[in-house]
């Protein structure tokens, strides 16, 4: 895999999106939910960033915040989200609206609930286009039909006049992608875009996103819980646990040399199609509540390598080489040994 000056695969030039120490806290009657608690990362143009984590790890909230979709009075936002020189957290709603949809596109998990059932698919794409670009209806309609064709919907002119319920799950997701890409955004955020779909449709959609990424030079964020999807389509990976990044690195760093016990647990939890015999080693226990996060390292109650320091001192996300970073107190040599001897099971 080719490396750039950053040592980061797929990364070229300045980051398109720079997130620094992002915190999203919600006040609830039960206490403060720390949904995102100090997350920093970059996204470069043309790269695909995979964000992996279990339900409640903060992966969706992070990117909803990036999109400016979390702005309620109960939400406290801190940190910086710099997109193309502007801090999205402090940008007025009006300006944010120009960015969202135009320069940052989003595809959600459930295409059925994201599409309006009363409008035809074509109308919905046209609405998105005309909200950002002054353009006669006819022209916008033609663009919508073009986009449907680009995302591989057969007979796009006919399909554009149909309603979402007339589309299958995979087709709806394609329509969503068409909508998100109609304005040629710089960044496409795909939040579990294929989770509700069959594997055959999933691979069609992921191939499509990958192809369009090359074609439109878009940066892509792929939020998923599926480590397989990340391995095949992403350049760089953030592993999130309990509202923080536990580990981040190039795809190969993670799969062939992960440094965090949580990542090891994930890698050992997935049944591998390619291995003949394999014992699954699940992570014991459950993810913590985001109201009462364990002190010290938030993973320590579930960690098989827990040490005394882990219970009291929170590890920082540190990177020996500037690219591959992990938040864990274990010594680097120890991490490498454990990964080699206990985690890697390609036989």
């Amino acid at each position: 895999m080719s490396s750039s000056t950053h040592g980061r695969s797929g990364a070229v030039g300045e980051p398109l999106l720079r997130v620094r120490d992002l915190k999203v806290h919600f006040d609830t009657p039960d206490g403060v939910v720390k949904a995102v608690n100090g997350v920093s990362f970059d996204i470069y143009q043309g790269e695909t960033l995979g964000v992996v984590g279990e339900s409640g790890s903060g992966k969706s909230v992070t990117f909803l915040t990036v999109m400016g979709l979390i702005r309620s009075k109960d939400a406290r936002l801190e940190g910086e989200v710099i997109f193309d020189g502007q801090d999205l957290l402090t940008l007025p709603d009006e300006e944010l609206r120009h960015l969202r949809g135009k320069r940052i596109g989003m595809v959600f998990q459930d295409a059925m609930t994201s599409l309006h059932p009363f409008y035809t698919v074509g109308q919905q794409i046209v609405e998105g286009i005309r909200a950002h670009e002054k353009m006669p209806k006819k022209e916008a309609w033609d663009r919508a039909v073009d986009m449907l064709q680009t995302v591989g919907i057969p007979k796009p002119a006919e399909r554009a006049r149909q309603y979402p319920h007339e589309f299958s799950g995979g087709m709806r997701q394609r329509a969503m992608i068409a909508m998100a890409l109609a304005l040629n955004p710089d960044l496409l955020i795909a939040d579990e875009p294929t989770t509700a779909l069959d594997v055959t449709v999933q691979s069609q959609i992921l191939e499509l996103i990958d192809r369009l990424k090359q074609e439109f030079r878009t940066a892509v964020v792929l939020i998923t819980h599926d480590l397989g999807v990340v391995a095949e389509y992403c350049d760089h990976i953030n592993v999130m646990y309990a509202a923080k990044i536990a580990e981040s690195g190039n795809t190969r760093d993670i799969y062939y040399g992960a440094h965090h016990p949580y990542t090891w647990g994930l890698l050992q939890s997935i049944p591998r199609l390619e291995s003949e015999v394999q014992d699954l080693k699940p992570i014991k226990g459950q993810p913590p509540s985001l109201i009462f996060v364990p002190p010290g390292c938030s993973f320590h109650p579930r960690c098989p390598y827990v040490m005394d320091i882990c219970r009291t001192k929170e590890p920082e996300l540190q990177s020996p080489d500037g690219v591959h970073a992990s938040a864990c107190h274990l010594a680097l040599s120890e991490k490498e040994r454990i990964f080699r001897e206990e985690v890697l099971q390609r036989a």
Binding site: E54, S55, P154, S168, G169, G170, M171, D198, V199, T200, V201, Q202, S203, Q204, L206, E207, H225, D226, L227, G228, V229, V230, A231, E232, T251, R252, Y255, Y256, G265, L266, L267, Q268, S269, I270, P271, R272, L273, E274, E276, V277, Q278, L280, K281, P282, I283, K284, Q286, P287, R346, A347
Partner: protein, 353 residues
């Protein structure tokens, strides 16, 4: 063919012994009607369309296929939630196709089901203890005074804290709820458990916990599983044999390792090639068979081979006109295809260095 390093050790019952469950030409067609008062039948959905299947004691039979292929309908037919339109069902040699509610009752002790959605399959107004105790109450297998003790034993067995007896489902996480579902299914010590997507709704780490639990219980109680899932890697991991369904029919069946090394049916090949592999190097060597379009409607399935409109290997007119039957290939493998795939057509995944 080289025998795999250690084929999942087959439990006592393997082909040759008496099957625990046998299906003969089972079909389920749902009528489509039009009109409110005068309902007129205008067609039918061929949800399950002629399934022959044998399940042996102690084995896990995996059932995979895309949404709408009829795998859940098949599960419900086996459980007699639906009555079969055609065909016969046998449990331990006893035909139960036409059994009514009362006659089914003793059989239901022998067959239980675990459902996909741990949120929807538990009554939110009942405590966990009473949910797990329901089978005892219905079948009176345990004297009233012993119910609580039995339930708590079950809870312990599936890894729940017995002190949580009086809690409600909403107080539990998805993984714990699925454990409740497992405990309930286990209460009557059934011989067969039909698991309908038991781990699809769970996070990976929790998914592995439940899979390990199911495997442990199988070893302990000699259970037989029918394991339905759309995730091929999960199915391969738990199953001795895997049946692949497409549009209401089984198109291929084989042991896990054979199926993934040497799939014969192009549909199996396509499914396998679509599974994302959590290993970037291996993934880049994978040969992809990308299927065009969606599964056709089961209302009017394609003629000949049902897969022909999407099949990359279809040859006409044969595939359009002649329906292929299941024919043997490797030992224990059958596939219904006129032009089967070569060996190692999809995942030639010999470890590289």
């Amino acid at each position: 063919m080289t025998v795999s390093v250690r084929e999942r050790e087959r439990p006592a019952g393997s082909p040759g012994s008496t099957p625990l469950l046998r299906l003969e030409g089972v079909k389920k067609h749902f009528p489509i009607t039009r009109g409110v008062i005068f309902q007129k039948k205008i067609g039918q959905v061929h949800a399950v369309d002629g399934i022959d299947l044998e399940v042996y004691p102690g084995e896990t039979l995996g059932l995979v296929g895309e949404t709408g292929c009829g795998k859940s309908t098949l599960a419900r037919l086996i459980m007699k939630v639906y009555d079969a339109t055609e065909g016969r069902l046998f449990f331990e040699g006893e035909e139960y196709t036409a059994y009514g509610r009362r006659k089914m009752r003793p059989l239901r002790r022998e067959m239980q089901m675990i459902f996909q959605d741990p949120y929807a399959s538990l009554n939110p107004r009942k405590t966990i203890g009473s949910i797990i105790a329901d089978p005892f109450r219905i079948h009176h297998t345990v004297p009233k005074g012993d119910v609580k003790k039995n339930v708590q034993e079950l809870m312990e067995l599936v890894g729940l804290n017995p002190e949580h007896y009086n809690r409600y489902p909403h107080e539990f996480s998805g993984g714990q709820r699925q454990r409740v579902g497992v405990a309930r299914a286990l209460a009557l010590r059934p011989k067969l458990i039909v698991c309908d997507e038991p781990v699809s709704a769970l996070d990976v780490s929790i998914q592995a916990q439940i899979i390990n639990l199911l495997e442990k219980l199988q070893r302990e109680f000699g259970l037989t599983y029918i394991f339905i899932a759309h995730d091929l890697s999960v199915v391969k991991h738990v199953s001795n044999r895997v049946a692949v369904m497409y549009l209401g029919k089984i198109v291929e069946m084989a042991t896990g390792p054979t199926l993934y090394r040497n799939p014969k049916h192009p549909y199996t090949g396509a499914l396998l090639s679509a599974v994302p592999i959590a290993d970037p190097d291996l993934a880049s060597h994978k040969k992809r068979i990308v299927l065009e379009g969606d599964v056709p409607s089961p209302i009017d399935p394609p003629s000949g081979c049902r897969f022909h409109p999407r099949c990359p290997n279809a040859q006409f007119p044969r595939c359009r006109e002649e329906e292929p039957v299941l024919r043997p290939h490797h030992p224990g493998q059958v596939a219904a295809c006129h032009f089967p795939l070569e060996d190692r057509a999809v995942l030639d995944l010999e470890p590289t260095a």
